[in-house]
């Protein structure tokens, strides 16, 4: 009974017990829920050594679970976010009905993710993948409105991805007669070329669906925004990283051996870049905070996919770094929006205004994650983005750099939009009695915000784990001291490190902060209405913080590009299929005689073609 059995056992047992604990009482359920996560995480991080292996024998197939550094890295994201989002969701979900069901699926998806990260063979990988999918589906449709449309779209795309992965798994089995990933990476070159390329492409589509790559991303915005915010924090933070985990495995083990290696990497990189660009543009014009963040999450994943696709050492570090960092600030942002939704009642950006004084801590964490998201120096987002640019340039695809650079700067637009509309601007009497979110919600947000800062200053801590993961993937060791970045040198020979810029900005900011702090005493409290507008005194009820059509001129410039939304084609295809299905069932027209005529026609056809299809 090693650590793997224990962790998975706790998670699965906890999920089922939480469901039944709900029958007893709310408090017991919350206790059971949060204790499962904390105990599992604690036990995992304390006792996990990378060489423990657990082998099951089910239905004639040996399922082996084990842990390596790459898995360890991703499990940091999963369990870290799970603990924080777990504490966050206790107050957030208070008062909603059948919470036992919600918490069970919450724990089941964590169980699924931990299973994926631990699985050493393709079947257990697929089993945990499907468990994660359907448990997250049950949460996406949890609060019921428009459940059918959004739920079906989500499960359709995930099933599409899962089944293409299943096909690849079965093809691997038919060639190598074993499901284990080690055999796959060893025996991949022995397979016939057609098998190699189909398996690689199928697996890539499978993982790209979960990582919301462009053509397959249609489910993501609705699913992220419709699920309860406490789950979406983990959903977009950790769940989408499973797609990245898969892509990493595929690119490392298979694509490098492919003859069409270059073309596959190039197309996926470009698709990632397009995802980043288009999603950012869509995000800018969203009026609902949840939708905006959902699109922004799709955009960030675009960067990671490009990083993984390029596949050089620095880009892989960038990708892994970004996936951790994205996990943190995206979860933080969703928690912020969740807190605002809980306190102020709505997430509509055109309505919300001036909550900075009422929810200071939420504003603080929103600010920190905004800076990190936009990749502005002092915080860790900058490190990831910087390494991504570094790798793209040294790898020589310059146009790609331009697109990524445009996407990340445009990223700042929607980040500013969300900060400005929710927190800044004049206060409205409507939000007079809004108080700060309860402590249990604020603490996780602030912790993440501080972590963003800490890792910004000392990226080495994160890079240590990423380095071990890279060693597992076969890249040379690159990590220096905890304060340094890497000992890598880019194409032009100078060290890839952002220490210099990082520390200058930190020192500048810190000094300004200290100066301001001391002058705080003789500061003057100014109400948001106290603005002189070219000599006119603003009347009491007028509100000069404009929220509507925030980026109208920009939108008008971009609008020809926006017409080609991919979901239009999907809907047409779906309606076409539906009409075709409806037409096929007309064959059973209810008249017994027609059925008899079908029987006789089938007999006649069979008699006519019998001689050439049956060889006696």
């Amino acid at each position: 009974m090693n650590i793997i059995h224990i962790t998975l056992g706790i998670l699965l047992g906890g999920a089922i017990l939480t469901y039944f604990a709900n029958k007893i009482s709310g408090v017991v359920r919350d206790l059971m829920f949060i204790s499962t996560i904390v105990v599992a995480a604690a036990l995992f991080f304390i006792k996990m050594t990378p060489d423990t292996v657990a082998v099951f024998n089910l239905g004639g197939i040996t399922l082996s679970l084990g842990m390596n550094h790459l898995g360890l890295l991703f499990s940091i994201i999963i369990l870290g976010l799970a603990v924080l989002a777990g504490f966050y969701s206790l107050p957030y979900m208070k008062g909603k009905d059948n919470l036992g069901f919600f918490y069970m699926n919450y724990l089941l998806s964590i169980f699924g993710m931990m299973g994926i990260v631990m699985s050493k063979d393709l079947v257990s990988f697929f089993i945990f993948w499907e468990i994660m999918t359907w448990s997250s589906y049950l949460i996406v449709v949890y609060n019921g409105n428009k459940a059918n449309k959004i739920g079906i779209k989500y499960i359709l795309f995930s099933a599409l991805g899962a089944y293409s992965m299943l096909m690849a798994i079965v093809m691997v089995y038919s060639q190598l007669h074993s499901f284990s990933i080690a055999d796959l990476s060893a025996g991949f070159t022995t397979m016939p070329a057609s098998y190699q390329i189909t398996i690689a492409l199928l697996l890539i589509t499978g993982f790209a669906v979960k990582a919301a790559m462009m053509p397959l991303h249609v489910w993501a915005p609705d699913a992220y925004s419709n699920a309860p915010m406490s789950y979406t924090a983990m959903f977009s933070g950790a769940l989408s990283k499973m797609g990245v985990y898969g892509l990493v495995i595929v690119f490392v083990t298979m694509v490098s051996h492919l003859p069409q290696n270059f073309w596959v990497r190039e197309t996926i990189a470009w698709l990632g870049a397009i995802t980043a660009g288009m999603a950012t543009i869509y995000a800018i014009f969203q009026d609902d905070a949840k939708k905006l963040l959902a699109y922004s999450s799709v955009a960030q994943l675009g960067y990671i996919i490009t990083g993984v696709a390029i596949g050089t050492e620095i880009s892989m570090i960038a990708a892994l770094m970004l996936s951790i960092v994205h996990g943190m600030f995206k979860a933080n942002f969703f928690m912020v929006v969740g807190a605002v939704e809980r306190q102020a009642g709505t997430t509509d950006l055109t309505v919300l205004t001036g909550l900075i004084r009422k929810m200071p801590w939420t504003f603080f964490s929103a600010l920190m994650s905004a800076i990190a998201l936009a990749g502005i120096p002092p915080l860790v987002g900058y490190v990831g983005k910087w390494m991504l640019y570094e790798s793209l340039i040294s790898n020589g695809n310059y146009i790609l750099v331009i697109v990524i650079f445009f996407a990340s700067t445009a990223g700042f637009l929607y980040v500013f939009k969300i900060l400005y509309s929710i927190f800044l601007g004049q206060e409205e009497p409507e939000f007079e009695n809004v108080k700060e979110a309860p402590a249990l919600m604020v603490i996780p947000m602030v912790i993440i915000a501080l972590l963003l800062g800490f890792f910004g200053a000392f990226p080495g801590y994160l890079l240590k784990y990423i380095d071990n993961a890279l060693v597992v993937m076969g890249y040379p060791v690159s990590q220096g001291k905890w304060w340094e970045m890497t000992t890598l040198f880019n194409a032009w020979g100078n060290k890839v490190s952002t220490d210099l810029i990082m520390y200058t900005t930190i020192t500048v900011f810190v000094t300004i902060a200290i100066v301001l702090f001391y002058r705080w005493k003789n500061g003057r409290y100014v109400s948001t209405k106290d603005i002189s507008l070219s000599g006119e005194m603003p009347k009491e009820d007028e509100n000069y913080s404009f929220k509507l059509d925030f980026y109208k001129p920009f939108e008008r410039a971009i609008s020809p590009l926006l017409r080609y939304k991919i979901s239009k084609y999907y809907n047409e295809f779906a309606d076409g299929m539906e009409a075709f299905f409806d037409w096929t069932r007309r064959i059973y027209n209810g008249n017994a005689q027609t059925y008899a005529i079908y029987v006789i026609t089938f007999l006649v056809i069979l008699l006519l073609i019998a001689n050439n299809i049956f060889t006696v």
């Binding site: 069932r585 027209n589 209810g590 008249n591 017994a592 005689q593 008899a596 005529i597």
Partner: protein, 125 residues
């Protein structure tokens, strides 16, 4: 009294009538709209099948497969009894199925007030 004489003519008559009955029965079952006419067609098909089954078992110059006292010691060539046994079962099953079908027709008439198959189409698609 045995069918000794020209065999190929008899082949045509027995096999011919049997297959004709089957086809006429099938035609009635597939084209006529009244449920009872369909069942008449099906029972004609049954008769055709039974005739075919028995005529397969016939043996030229064979007597009935019964060892009556008159014929027991001469042991003449006998017709094949096995198809006769099968036909016996087939006739009774045919009747049982027709009886149940007619009961269903009565029930359908009670509900739909018609025996026209085109008008009984609640269950479609």
């Amino acid at each position: 009294m045995s069918l000794g004489s020209n065999l190929d003519l008899l082949t045509v008559t027995f096999y011919g009538t049997a297959i004709a009955l089957i086809l006429i029965g099938l035609y009635a079952a597939l084209v006529k709209r009244s449920l009872i006419k369909i069942l008449i067609g099906l029972s004609i098909v049954d008769s055709g099948i039974n005739l075919l089954l028995v005529s397969i078992g016939y043996l030229k110059g064979g007597t009935a497969p019964i060892f009556s006292p008159a014929v027991i010691d001469k042991n003449p060539a006998m017709v094949d009894p096995v198809p006769q046994a099968l036909v016996l079962t087939a006739i009774v099953i045919g009747f049982a199925v027709t009886a149940v079908a007619l009961a269903l027709v009565i029930r359908l008439y009670r509900h739909h007030k018609t025996v026209n198959i085109d008008e009984i189409k609640n269950l479609k698609w």
